[in-house]
Amino acid sequence: MAELHLRIVTPDRTIVDRKVAGVRFQGVDGGYGILPNHAPLMTAISTAGAAEITELDGKKNELFVSDGFAQVHDNVLTLVCEAGEFVHEIDLERVKAAEARARQKLAGLDRVSTEFLLAEASLRKAMMREMLARRVAGSGSLR
């Protein structure tokens, strides 16, 4: 059976570069599930999204990805994103600080300005990270 090769690259590093059984991630217009032999595809990843990797041995790993693009071609899935980290790498303290900062900014801004949208995006990212981190912490013992 054909295998799916996953590559996740960010400006700082290549996070993942290995064979996997399947990947789920959030595009701008909905969720995607990619399995081996997927048709060639190109899409944009949502501003703040989660990706779930199903490893070859059936284990699942979640990570945070943001602002990126996905491309499937020849059984290679490439996620090119601005930021990405595994759930266990998320630093809750920092995320909380970022969330507070974003909220503070939002309060003083005009609702139709670019700054508002930017601040909203950073708030979304912070909340997504927090959600992921908490979910794993909560169910860590079950896995």
């Binding site: 400006p11 700082d12 944009a44 693009f69 491309q71």
Partner: protein, 293 residues
């Protein structure tokens, strides 16, 4: 002799200069290694983004949908100048600034307006001295600590200047790192984008695969473009930074070598003078003793 004391002082100061330059050389080579590692891990990202954009370029419609590709009559040119914050790095800054001066002269001869965006204190000071108004001087974060976020900020500022009509063309003036001993000051066009063929022009190449596009090609393309431009800026920043450190390392190595050589020469002179002194004193003593007896 007073000469001896003077020599001792000089030897001491030259030795301490050598020590300082040697330390700077080591710091520069460490930083150089760090920046190179950064550039290395940045490479896959650039490749992927470029790949996707090239694959998409043939699928988007005419120029009307992609404003960043549209060339218009050039009245105002925006220049993004990247230099270092500090000196003592050989001819690094003077090369970029010489290129900048040529570019300015050329544009002025064509009767164009010029606006400046600057990264690096040296370039800013240079422009200020010559009375050019600087549109924006990026201070934070310093180039040394610049990450992708900084490139994003700069890229957005440049795109904004282009789309708002403040500039009809944006160019980057920076230093390309060619090898450890070769740095090329470069003046490259940034906007409108020329490096990638779009629309009809791109149709001919090999990317004729049928991709599923969601939402659709133009939307993805327009989202992808800013990312691409950010990578171009970041690449220019990294190249400049690498050149700066490599240049400083070389300059400091030269300085250290020169100082060590000079110290050797001075020591020789000092020892000879000292020996002469001793001989003279001995002669005095011997002469005195023979006069007494």
């Amino acid at each position: 002799m007073a000469n001896l004391k003077e020599l001792r002082g000089r030897i001491k100061s030259v030795a301490s200069i050598a020590q300082i330059t040697r330390a700077m050389e080591m710091v520069a080579s460490m930083k150089l290694r760090k920046v190179q590692a950064k550039a290395q891990s940045f490479h896959p990202y650039v490749d992927e983004i470029r790949h996707m954009i090239e694959a998409l370029a043939g699928k988007v419609g005419g120029d009307g949908e992609v404003p960043l590709f549209q060339a218009r009559e050039v009245n105002t040119v925006g220049l993004l100048v990247i230099t270092s914050d500090r000196g003592l790095c050989g001819s690094y800054n003077s090369y970029v600034l010489a290129l900048l001066r040529r570019t300015i002269d050329e544009l002025k001869a064509q009767g164009k307006q010029i606006k400046f965006w600057v990264y690096g204190r040296k370039g800013y000071a240079w422009l200020q001295r010559r009375g050019f108004a600087v549109e924006r001087f990026f201070v934070e974060p310093p180039l040394d600590k610049a990450d992708f976020g900084a490139a994003k900020m700069v890229g957005q500022a440049m795109v904004e200047a282009f789309t708002s009509g403040a500039c009809d063309q944006v160019r980057l003036v920076y230093t390309r790192f060619q090898s450890m001993i070769k740095f090329v000051p470069t003046d490259a066009q940034f906007l409108p984008i020329q490096s990638i063929p779009v629309g009809q022009a791109a149709k001919a190449d090999q990317y004729e695969l049928d991709f599923l596009m969601e939402p659709d090609a133009t939307t993805i393309f327009n989202r992808l473009l800013p990312r691409y431009l950010e990578t171009v800026v970041f690449d220019a920043m990294l190249q400049s930074l690498t050149s700066e450190h490599a240049s400083r390392r070389m300059a400091m190595k030269g300085a250290t070598d020169a100082a060590v050589r000079m110290n050797k020469g001075l020591k020789k002179v000092y020892n000879r003078a000292r020996q002469e002194n001793i001989t003279k004193e001995l002669l005095d003593i011997v002469g005195g003793a023979s006069a007494v007896s």
